[in-house]
C-alpha cells in the first residue's frame, strides 16, 4: 500500500520537529517547509497528499497562501489543513477554501484524527 505524504509548513522549528517526528512515527512520509516564500515551489515538486499550513509563516499569511494553492492547477490534488490559534479559525479556513483546520495549541490526537478524516473522505 502506498504511504500517504504530508508536508508541514510552519516557521517554528520546534513545532516542525515535533510534528514531523510524530507523524513519521505513525506511518506518514513527512517533509517540512519553514519558509513562506518557498512553499508553492516545494509543493509543486513534492505534491504531498496533505499540507499542514500555519496561519502565519514568517510574515506571510497562511490563508493567502491557501488561496494561492487552491488556484494553482498543478496543486489540485493537495489537501490543505490550516493551523491557527485564532478564535475565528473556522471562518478563516472556510473563506480561503481550506479542506479543514486544526486549532492551536495542537494535540497529536486531534492532528491524527483530522488528517485521517481527509484520507477516508477520498
Amino acid at each position: 500500500m502506498k504511504r500517504n505524504t504530508i508536508m508541514i509548513a510552519d516557521d517554528d522549528e520546534d513545532l516542525l520537529f515535533l510534528l514531523k517526528t510524530h507523524l513519521a512515527s505513525v506511518g506518514y512520509i513527512v517533509s517540512s517547509c519553514g519558509n513562506g516564500n518557498a512553499i508553492i515551489e516545494k509543493l509543486t515538486q513534492e505534491k504531498p497528499d496533505v499540507v499542514l499550513l500555519d496561519i502565519e509563516i514568517n510574515g506571510m499569511e497562511g490563508d493567502a497562501l491557501c488561496r494561492q494553492i487552491k488556484r494553482d492547477k498543478r496543486l489540485t490534488e493537495v489537501k490543505v489543513l490550516i493551523m491557527s490559534g485564532k478564535y475565528d479559525i473556522e471562518r478563516i479556513s472556510l473563506s480561503c477554501g481550506a479542506d479543514g483546520y486544526i486549532s492551536k495549541p495542537l494535540s497529536y490526537h486531534i492532528i491524527e484524527r483530522k488528517i485521517s478524516a481527509l484520507f477516508s473522505a477520498q
Binding site: D11, D12, F17, E56, G85, K86, K104, L106
Partner: protein, 438 residues
C-alpha cells in the same frame, strides 16, 4: 428640615393680574439663578394656573416662596381659589396635547413645565403647587436677599398691557436665540462625539489586532509544550528526551518574552506616565542615543539631526521617548552589514502638525510583502535578528492614540524612512488627562 421664605403674595382678579403673576414668575426665577428657558417654563406654568382660577373661580391668590430642604432648593408658587373645584380632574390631566383638540390643556401644560406639580381640588376650591428646582451651584437666597428683590420691584414703574406684551415678545426673541445657541452647541458636541467615536473604533480595531497577534504568539509555544509533554508521557523510557527538554525550555522562554512584551505595552499605555510637557527634540533624541552610545561608537554609526524647522513639541514625554527608542533600536538591529549605518532625523511644521522623519540606510524591507503585517504585533520579518516584534506596533499605536499618523517607505538594500505626523498637545490638556486618572 424644610425652610420656606415667603417672597410675595398677589391677588388674581383680572387679566392684568395674570400678566403680573407671569412677570413676577419670570423675575423671581431669574433672581434665583434659573436660565431664561427655565424662567419661561416657571412663569408660563404660573400664568396658566392663574388664568384657570380667574376663568373658573372668578379670582384666586398666588403665593411665591423659596423652599430649602436637605436635597434641593426650589422656587414654589401656590395658587389657591375658592371655586367649585374641578370635576374629572384625573381625566383632564391625562389629556394628550397632541391628540386632544379643545380648551382645557392649561393644567396639562403647567404640570409638564413644572419640576413638581401638585393639585388638590374639592367642591370648596382648588390649590395648585408649582415647583421649579434651583440649580445646586446657586446659593440659597437668604431672607435679606429676598427683601432686596421686593424693594427692587417696588421701584419698578407701572406698565401697561401693551408694554407687558412687548416685553414678553422681547423675552421670546431672547429665548429663541438661546435655543439657537444651544443647538449650535449640541451640533458642536455631536461633531466632538463623532470624532471620539472614530477614535474609539480605531482603538477597538487595534485591540482586536493585538488580541489576534498575541494569541498566535502564545499558542505556538504552548503547542510545542503540549506536544513535548505528550511525547515524554507516552515514551517514558525514550533516550532522546534531551531534545524535548530543549524544546520545553525554548517554549517557556518564548512565553516569558511574550508576557514581558505585554507588560511593556501595558506600561506604555499606563495613564500615570502620560505627562504632557514641552519637549525639545534635540535633547530627547540625544538622551535616547546615549542609551546605545557604545554600540554607535564602535560600529561608527553616523547620525545627522536637523530639528531647526521645528525644534520642539508639546507631547506625552513617555511616548516620544519610546518612539525614538524603538526607531533607533530598529535601525541599529537591521543595519546593512555591507556599509556603515547612517541615520537622519528631521522635523518640520505643517499647519498644526509636526512632521518627523526618521530614515536609515539599513537592510530595508520589501513593502509589497510586508505592508499588511508591518505594524501587527509579534510579527517578525527577519529570522536572523532577535526581537519581540512589538516595536513598530508600539510606535503606530502611540502615534495614533495621540491623533497622529505614520507612513513607511522602504526598499531592500536602500533603507527605510518613517514619516510621522504628530499632533501637538496644549499644555492645558494636562488637566483633562489628569482628571481621567482618578
Amino acid at each position: 428640615m424644610e425652610k420656606e421664605i415667603l417672597i410675595m403674595t398677589l391677588d388674581v382678579q383680572n387679566e392684568m393680574d395674570v400678566m403680573l403673576a407671569h412677570r413676577r414668575g419670570m423675575q423671581f426665577a431669574k433672581y434665583s439663578g434659573l436660565s431664561l428657558s427655565e424662567q419661561t417654563r416657571f412663569a408660563t406654568a404660573v400664568s396658566e394656573i392663574c388664568r384657570n382660577s380667574l376663568e373658573y373661580a372668578m379670582q384666586g391668590i398666588i403665593k411665591f416662596s423659596i423652599v430649602q430642604n436637605k436635597e434641593i432648593n426650589y422656587l414654589l408658587a401656590v395658587i389657591k381659589d375658592e371655586g367649585k373645584g374641578i370635576p374629572k380632574l384625573r381625566e383632564i390631566l391625562e389629556r394628550n396635547p397632541q391628540s386632544y383638540k379643545g380648551r382645557g390643556l392649561g393644567l396639562v401644560y403647567a404640570r409638564r413645565l413644572s419640576d413638581n406639580f401638585k393639585i388638590t381640588s374639592t367642591p370648596k376650591g382648588t390649590t395648585v403647587h408649582i415647583q421649579k428646582n434651583i440649580p445646586v451651584k446657586t446659593s440659597m437666597p437668604s431672607k435679606l436677599v429676598v427683601e432686596g428683590w421686593i424693594r427692587h420691584l417696588e421701584k419698578e414703574p407701572v406698565i401697561s398691557a401693551y408694554e407687558e406684551l412687548k416685553m414678553r415678545n422681547i423675552q421670546l426673541v431672547e429665548l429663541s436665540e438661546e435655543l439657537k445657541a444651544n443647538s449650535a452647541m449640541v451640533e458642536k458636541q455631536m461633531v466632538e462625539i463623532k470624532k471620539l467615536n472614530v477614535q474609539l473604533s480605531k482603538s477597538n480595531e487595534r485591540m482586536k489586532e493585538f488580541t489576534y497577534a498575541i494569541s498566535h504568539d502564545l499558542k505556538t509555544p504552548l503547542s510545542s509544550l503540549k506536544l513535548s509533554a505528550a511525547y515524554m508521557e507516552n515514551n517514558p523510557t525514550a533516550t532522546d528526551t534531551l531534545i524535548y527538554q530543549g524544546i520545553v525550555s525554548r517554549s517557556v522562554n518564548r512565553l516569558d518574552r511574550t508576557i514581558q512584551s505585554l507588560i511593556e505595552i501595558i506600561d506604555l499605555q499606563n495613564q500615570n506616565q502620560q505627562i504632557i510637557k514641552e519637549l525639545v527634540f534635540e535633547t530627547l533624541f540625544s538622551e535616547t542615543t546615549e542609551e546605545y552610545e557604545q554600540f554607535i561608537r564602535e560600529s561608527g554609526v553616523k547620525i545627522e539631526t536637523d530639528f531647526s524647522a521645528a525644534p520642539g513639541i508639546t507631547y506625552i514625554e513617555g511616548h516620544l521617548h519610546s518612539l525614538f527608542h524603538n526607531l533607533l533600536s530598529n535601525s541599529l538591529k537591521y543595519k546593512d552589514e555591507k556599509r556603515k549605518l547612517e541615520i537622519r532625523v528631521a522635523t518640520k511644521t505643517a499647519s498644526k502638525k509636526i512632521i518627523l522623519t526618521f530614515s536609515d540606510n539599513g537592510v530595508g524591507m520589501d513593502m509589497d510583502k510586508v505592508r499588511d503585517r508591518l505594524f501587527v504585533p509579534f510579527s517578525r520579518f527577519s529570522g536572523q535578528v532577535e526581537g519581540k516584534g512589538i516595536g513598530l506596533y508600539l510606535i503606530k499605536s502611540m502615534v495614533e492614540s495621540n491623533g497622529g499618523s505614520v507612513a513607511v517607505d522602504s526598499s531592500v538594500g536602500n533603507g527605510t524612512t518613517f514619516t510621522f505626523s504628530l499632533i501637538p498637545y496644549k499644555l492645558t490638556d494636562q488637566v483633562t488627562i489628569k482628571k481621567d486618572e482618578t
